[in-house]
Each structure stands twice: as C-alpha cells, then as structure tokens.
Symmetry: C2
Subunit: 301 residues, 2 copies
C-alpha cells in the first residue's frame, strides 16, 4: 500500500517547490518547516514580523538560517501576512499556501479575496489522507472540515477535488464511496439519494477519473466481507479509496475517531483553490504537518 511516508518521499522528488507560510513566527510552525526542509520537500517564504521570526530562528532553528531554503518577508500583522502570502501564491512566487499561527478564517478570507485571491470558481473542500493501523489502503476522507451540509452539486465538486488529490498521491482511478447510514436508497435519507445521483453522474461522465459506488455504510465501503455479507454485488464495494461523508459532523467524528481510537496518521489539505492550502492546527503533530505539506506539494498542478 501507499503510505504517508511514501508521499513524503514522492514529494521530495518534485523539485523547486515553494511554500508561502502566513504568520510563520511560531515554534511549532517553524518545526514543521524545518522538518520539511530536512526532507528536501520545498523552500519556504515566511511572512511575519521579521525581528520576531529572526529571534525564533536564531534561538531554535539556527541551521535553517543558512539553509538557503528560507526567505523572510516582514509583515505587520496577521491580516497582512495572510494577504501577502496569498499574493505570493497568486503571483506564482510560491506553489503552496500554508497557514501558520493565524486564525483559519483570516487566511481563508485572504485566499478567497476577489482581487488577489486564489478563487477558481470551484468549491473549496478538505481532503484528508489516513493511514490506519492494520488497514490495507490509504483512505481519503472528504469533507470533514469545510462544507457544513453540502448539496448534490457541491458533493460532486468535493468528489472531483478528492480525485485530484488521490491522483496526485498515486491512486490513478480512485474508488469513491458516498457514505450514508445504509447501503440502499431511502428517500427519507438524503445522503442515500445523493449517492445514487453521484453514481449516475459518474456513469454519465459528469464526474470523471474515478469510480463512484454508493450509497454505502462505512463497513460496506471499507470491507469486502461486510459488503458481501450485506449482499452488495458491485465489484467495487468494500474497496473505497475515498470516503465522502454526507455532512461535516459525520466527517469530523470519523476524522477524530480514526485519530483517537484507531491511532491513525493523517495529512490533509484544502483543495479547489488555484493552489493547495495546508491548514494545519496546533493540535496536529509535527509528523502530521509534514504529511500535509507533502500532499500539498504533490497536488500542485
């Protein structure tokens, strides 16, 4: 199987990648930058108060100062750090946007700015790649963080975004399972009718590059035996690469369950803007931030 570590190696083979970090003056953020530079993933443009940033680097990561992989751009506050980092990406001075010590809303506001932002007309969605102990496949979960209660056409775009990321990670024609509570169509349960429509959209070429099989409950999506036991006859049941959750609560609960109860590893990006956005949070481990950077770099067009 493809592991998250494989993605780090693969990302290091893409040369010349540059990551713009909004509000980088933070030990944990710089630790992720340091680790990514050690793995030769990318060079970094750091946006923040220059003096503060220099002090942190001198005291904690002196090796970075002479790495030749860092440029610092002085900014006076987080809003400016966000707008200049976004502009660096939209001007093609950087390939990936990364959130530093800044509110998610602040960086997304800049990324969606209609003058200089990274809008493409597409939906922005969160795509996470999980490596679950004792499970045989890298599993992508989408959208656990951006879209609250996506309608059908938003779900279609969420799938397209996830296919782009899965492709970039080396999965050529991912199997996508729109999840529901059951594996049959029940008009009282919109996730089941939406799943049916998404399968039809896949059959009619409205969503391409993947095989969509749903509705499926989680067990039928990830276990061939569970699918057989339920009498599900599609060839792809039980073999999902992408789990498309019907709402943000289901996604967030799945995400946290995999992390806390199944000890999974994860990397994640926001896809759908002109460039991948890495939105790690303070609760993410250094390892997880590195995985997210690797996925972001791989997903650069």
């Amino acid at each position: 199987m493809i592991t998250l570590q494989d993605l780090v190696v693969k990302a290091s083979q893409r040369k010349g990648m540059i990551v713009a970090v909004a509000a980088a003056a933070d030990i944990e953020v710089l630790s992720a930058v340091n680790s990514a530079i050690e793995k030769e993933l990318a060079s970094f443009l750091l946006f923040d108060d220059e003096l503060h940033l220099q002090n942190l680097l001198v005291n904690h990561f002196p090796e970075l100062l002479n790495s030749g992989k860092l440029s610092i751009v002085h900014t006076k506050d987080t809003a400016q750090a966000a707008s200049l980092a976004v502009k660096a990406v939209s001007n093609s001075d950087a390939n990936v946007l990364m959130k530093g010590n800044i509110a998610t809303a602040t960086i997304l506001r800049a990324a969606l700015n209609s003058d200089y932002g990274l809008r493409t007309g597409s939906v922005l969605s969160h795509v996470a790649a999980f490596e679950v102990p004792n499970y045989e496949r890298l599993l992508f979960v989408t959208d656990a963080a951006m879209n609250i209660a996506p309608d059908l056409m938003t779900k279609a775009q969420i799938i397209r975004n996830s296919v782009t990321v899965a492709n970039a990670c080396g999965i050529e024609e991912p199997i996508v399972a729109p999840l529901a509570a059951i594996e049959t169509v029940n008009p009282a349960m919109e996730p089941t009718t939406d799943a049916a429509s998404l399968v039809a959209m896949n059959n009619r070429g409205q969503i391409t590059g993947c095989i969509i099989d749903g509705p499926l409950a989680l067990d039928n999506a990830i276990s061939v035996n569970a699918a057989k036991q339920k009498g599900i006859t599609t060839k792809t049941a039980g073999q999902a690469d992408v789990l498309m959750v019907p709402n943000i609560e289901a996604g967030n609960i799945l995400y946290k369950s995999l992390m806390y109860f199944a000890n999974a590893k994860v990397g994640a990006i926001i896809q759908g803007a002109a460039a991948p956005i890495v939105l790690t949070s303070r609760a993410d481990s250094a390892e997880s931030k590195l995985y997210s950077l690797a996925i972001g770099i791989l997903t650069v067009k």
Copy 2:
C-alpha cells in the same frame, strides 16, 4: 472501568428474567440464546415454526432442550412470530424483546402496534455501549440506528433514554456530550445550537440524571487533553460517558469506525419502549449479541 463482560456478570445476578425471541429458528440466534443460558442471564420464549426449531435444537444445541430454560411457541410466519413475541412482553410473560431471523421493520411494526405493542409515548432510540481498546471508559453512543435527523425535543428524549441505559449499566450520573463538528455555537450548524439548548434544558431540570456538556467535537468529548488544548473550561469536557451524535450518518459512521478500525466491542439495545428491545443483526458476533442481551436485561425496569 466497567467492561461489557462486567455487564454480563451483573445481568446474571438479576434473577427470573425472560426474553421473548421473534423468529428464533436460526443457528446464530440460537447460539446467542445458548450462550446467554450458559451465563445464566435469562430464560427464553422462542417464537417460530416449532418443527424447524426443534430440528435445529436437536442437531445443534441438544443441551438446550433439557435446560429447563426454553419454551417454544409455534408460529406460522415471521409476522405472527413478531406479534406473539411482542404480546408476550406486553402481557409481562417476558421482560425483553429480541429480534431473531426477521426483518427489523417487521419486529418494530409489531412493537409499535397501537393495540398490543410496547409504545409508551416516548421516542424509541438506539443506545450502544462500546469497549474501545486502550480507552479508559465504557462509551455509550446514541442514536446510531433509529432516528434519522432528530430535532431538539427528540434529542432530549434520546438523551433520557441513554441515561436510563447508562444508569442500568452502573453509571450513576453520566456525562453526556452532544457532538458537533466544533465546540462553539455557530448558528449555521444546528448540532451546535441544539447542544446549547440541551445544556440549558439540563440546567433547568428538563433533562435530569446526567450532566450535559456541549457542543463538543469528538476529541474534546473523550480526551481531557484535547479539551484543554482547545481552551474548554467546563469540568466535564473530555470525560463523556454518552456521545450523542447529531444525525444517523454520523452515528453509523462512528459505530462502524469503532468496530472496524478501533477493534471495539459493542452491545446495544433499543430503548424507549415499554421493554428493552435487542435488535442484533447477522453481522454481529456471538459475543456482541450476548453483550446486547446483558444490557437489555439490566435495563428492564
């Protein structure tokens, strides 16, 4: 911590319990009955075709025939098996209703029959108790199977039902976490506003016997460290006994994730009728069916 095995032992200490099984002529169902009788949990009334049932017992569980713990009631089809099993419970000839080899809809229809059923005017809801490897507490998840998209008042009743079950399992004043994708109130996310209302209902005595703390994301509900890291100051954050999911998809996905990715053990019942209902399915292990029976027996009034 209280384990599911502890609940089996505790249930065996309740004497004179009788379980009515609708459509019992099935090896897996009888295997669960056999196991429950070995553990001295209950006696059983088995409703099904008598000849078929006798044959299965003679060939597979001959020791059961002379156990003194079985009575067989001949029924001509599953609908009759369901209605007579339900009547046995409503007539107080049995304390717990158990689904055998019969569609869930068939047994629920009988259980909800307005003439002879087990209606109480309350909401019926599914309550599952999970023992998660390396996790410190038995975790109740509700409602992962009955209510599709419960409104606020239904959620209140779902919580009351879960408190009854948690109490029966030995947890005196359970901490209930109404889960959402975030831990703050956001009017665009109904699970967060409902959680706020449920906390207020708890504060004003509209929901009693528990401490409700929400909205919480799953990590903040089950990890004190995660709650602290998010700056959540309530004393009960991170210590939930009951996880109330906002919709059936989130619940089903959490349920399956705990089973498939975290190797959890589970027992579950439907609560809110005049008697506990054990709705095990073919996919459940024998162990899981036994745990469900134990929880059902403990929850008998």
